[in-house]
Symmetry: C2
Subunit: 222 residues, 2 copies
């Protein structure tokens, strides 16, 4: 019984990897670089993207693929900034899939004018587990960890922290009001993903957002 | 292809429901009431339980089943309070299952002295999607929503907010430092789950925790 379950899981991941490679080939041939943006619910993915897109990315042409179980709240926020946004709802499987997979992203490719973009940001469903298990054809992965979530998150969700090239630590404007040791968090992060790049930001005050924008602009150049 | 996937999902949920009923029968025959506690990562499930267990539950004998992908950080915190705690790690399937299911809970039943308990609190994996889709045999479900996660969460994760008999709104000590309208959150909650009970708490300052303890004590009496 357990063996069967593991076999099904491995088939699902194999199929996902195949489709992710096809997505990646399409992205490459269109010359668009792709960032998969992940976090727990409410960590500030959309707020941070808003900040970055308002200021612009140094001429980089950005598009966004919004993953949500249902609704288009985040897509509406971002399209107000005159950026091409496609909403992808995962609400069909079960009571709603908890992550984007390569096939869902593939189903949205025809709605994206890839040749008009330098950078595609894929905002995944808010979840610290499964999004890290399903590559979708991206070049790089970024995860946002809010300081309100606590210092222990790297230890409790290690795959997510290991899967990313960049960990953005958000909501640092709240640090004076929390029992949160940044030093302890960074120790935990280093234990799980030694040497991984990180940056401190506040999407609310704008602190550190320019550094994240530079990182994205650099990702767009490959 | 899509049809097959939906069929697999429905088989999984059917199997889960069958095992959940078996768990429920065991809980009933032992006279223990069970609360399934769910939230996003870092919303404060463990911190709130700590607060409640330190003060005690009016003579109610409480046990905890801790669900985590890996590690026993939360179980260690709670067992320091001399409460029976069993750790359940979900790290086998995929890179870690994002929720507890009825079979995982069933596998832990032999480690629990059910006849010595009035109340079993099952702390689910931090996730606003799949835990709501997998009943484990509980009597009641509680979800904790932190005000730092934003006002839009009921609209974006409706199944979770609908699945619960109680929504605990945590971290209210941070309200003065956030752009969070409690009125707007409650409107969104009411739209998704009209009339659902809610309470305001701060696990950090202790505000509102007594009301949650009373709710748990009442759940323990059935």
């Amino acid at each position: 019984m357990h063996r069967t379950k593991v076999k099904v899981a491995s088939d699902v991941l194999d199929a996902n990897a195949t489709i992710a490679r096809a997505n990646r080939a399409d992205f490459d041939s269109a010359g668009v670089h792709v960032v998969n943006l992940m976090s727990a619910p409410g960590a500030g993915k959309t707020a941070l993207l808003e900040r970055v897109l308002i200021d612009g990315l140094d001429g980089v042409r950005v598009g966004v693929l919004e993953g949500d179980i249902q609704g288009s709240f985040d897509a509406d926020r971002l399209s107000a900034l005159h950026v091409p946004v496609t909403q992808l709802n995962t609400g069909r499987g079960f009571g709603g899939e908890c992550h984007l997979d390569a096939n869902m992203v593939r189903s949205a490719l025809s709605t994206l004018e890839l040749h008009d973009l330098d950078l595609l940001v894929i905002e995944n469903v808010g979840n610290l587990v499964c999004p890290a298990e399903f590559p979708v054809g991206e070049d790089r992965r970024v995860m946002i960890s809010s300081v309100t979530e606590g210092e222990d998150k790297p230890l409790k969700y290690p795959l997510m922290f290991r899967a990313c090239e960049l960990v953005v630590i958000n909501k640092i404007d709240l640090l004076p009001h929390l029992d949160f040791s940044l030093g302890r968090f960074l120790e935990n992060l280093d234990q799980v993903s030694p040497g991984v790049e990180h940056m401190l930001v506040s999407a609310r005050t704008g602190e550190g957002v320019a550094a994240f924008a530079s990182w994205l602009a650099s990702a767009a150049r490959g």
